[in-house]
């Protein structure tokens, strides 16, 4: 199939199993959310997909090709990208430079020593279109560290999108964002390209129910259930385990 297929993924640290027989698919156009209580293994799962961790067993396929042995950087080139839980930007660089870096990297230009980094025509066009897509055009030349937090999250998403991924993992895109700025994030997610496969990992249930078409619930490293937002909202086990517990 096209898209991402995770088959029977396991990860153990010594005797501690943190991912147990996980099966997930993510096809173009999907809007899935991964939820679960603290310590359910969401970060581990992301790290396994992006190649920061190596699985104990199981397969990760992209368009039918096994990518389990690829490095982090190689997986990005293959089309898997993720945003960070806590903003992880190039703080001292300007917003434009933050966007240029992934764009240059995607085109394989960051090994170039001679030309100026802000003179690559194709790159500059894309920088400007991303800036306007995320309504950041006014602050393009400001160092990222001087931006409001919500705006930093937008830069974060713009950067990840600049990699032209086919699989996008949004790791808690609204974490730390004041609720007043939260609609900005939902709006940005809705505006993502239609053919993109998106997996949102999020605590903010309002956001999850707004953007996700299917929800996967992870508990103790294993998948408890998967379904539409309505099904999940109706599932008693999920209520008890997650929604009830964390909101109670």
């Amino acid at each position: 199939m096209t898209g991402l297929e995770v088959i029977g993924l396991n990860k153990a640290f010594g005797g501690l199993t943190v991912a147990r027989d996980i099966n997930i698919t993510l096809a173009p156009g999907d809007r899935k959310a991964l939820i679960g209580p603290n310590g359910a293994g969401k970060s581990t799962f992301t790290n396994l997909i992006t190649g920061i961790l190596e699985p104990t067993s199981g397969e990760i396929r992209l368009d039918g090709r096994d990518i389990g042995k690829l490095s982090e950087a190689q997986r990005v080139k293959a089309g898997i990208a993720k945003t960070f839980q806590i903003t992880n930007l190039f703080k001292s660089l300007t917003v434009r430079d933050n966007l240029r870096l992934p764009l240059l990297e995607r085109r394989g230009l960051t090994g170039r020593l001679i030309r100026r980094s802000d003179r690559e025509g194709g790159v500059e066009d894309e920088v400007e279109s991303l800036l306007s897509q995320f309504r950041l055009s006014d602050m393009g030349d400001r160092p990222v560290e001087r931006l409001a937090y919500g705006q930093q999250r937008l830069v974060e998403m713009a950067m990840t999108l600049a990699l032209k991924p086919r699989i996008l993992i949004l790791d808690e895109p609204a974490a730390g964002v004041p609720s007043s700025e939260s609609p900005l994030i939902a709006e940005a997610i809705s505006g993502l390209p239609q053919d993109l496969a998106v997996l949102v990992i999020e605590h903010d249930m309002a956001l999850v129910f707004k953007v996700a078409r299917r929800i996967v619930v992870l508990v103790s490293g294993a998948i408890l259930t998967e379904g539409t937002p309505e099904e999940i909202a109706a599932d008693a086990r999920v209520r008890d385990l997650y929604l009830g517990a964390s909101h109670g």
Binding site: K82, L93, L104, L109, T110
Partner: protein, 313 residues
Amino acid sequence: MKSLLPFALMALVAVVAFYAFPYNLAFLTRVVITMILVLSLDLLIGVTGIDTLGQAALYGTGAYAAGLFAVHVWADPVAGLLVGGLAGAVVAFVSGLLLMRTHGLTLLMLTIAVAEVFQELANKLDWLTGGADGLGGITMNPVFGTWQFDFIGQTGYIYAVCVLFIVTAILKVVIGSPFGLSLRGIKDSPARMRAIGTPVGRRRVAVYTLAGAVAGIAGALAAQSTALVSLSVYDFQVSAEAMIMLILGGTGRLWGALIGTAVFMAVHEVAASVDPFNWLFIIGFLVLAVVYAVPRGLIGLPEEIRRMVGRLK
């Protein structure tokens, strides 16, 4: 145009220094050579965020390579520079494969260790390097077959200044390039660079190799202008002083490296001639004053002053 202004200023200072201190050209040449070494360190510490205390390994190898090349192969200065630069790059590349996997204190200590190993090797291989007596017998040909190295050091100074200009210009271009942008990205967040698909480890080795070439060129210049290479080129002191000068001037923008070197060496020279025994007091207080007053280095001084004036208003 704006980016050329500092170069014009640099040229002006170089010319003024030439005429203002006609009898101190040997010292000025040493300052210029040290500037090149400190630039190589700025590329690592200031631009890429790789903290190292082992520039002496690269500088010293450049010096010995250029010295040996001049004695045994060809005494042409420019060819010697290239050989020195190449030697520095090779050492940096090979050692970088291990070093660039580490960070922080571990990296500092490993880089020190590499320089120490080289120093001991140079001592052991005394049939080649002259050991503790130093590698002598270096007599350089005229630069481009035209300009003879003269007694008062005019040729040496102009030659070194030209090399400094070329190195600074090249590094400016590199820092402004996509490669340079990726280095600055690595300084801010290596994790994020990995997440956008940059092979950070390889990039670090690449920049270390480049810095090795620059440090090697500085070493080669030192060998040519002193006409003798001794074990002291590998001294911990070489690396440590380069780092002090860089932080003193301010990191990341190359100009800080130049200013820091000039100020440190000038203060040292003046203080040591006023009181050869106790000049270390002066250097110590200078260093402390800079840390507490302008933590970002002398290059941050104008901004700091502006801010203080602003507060007064």
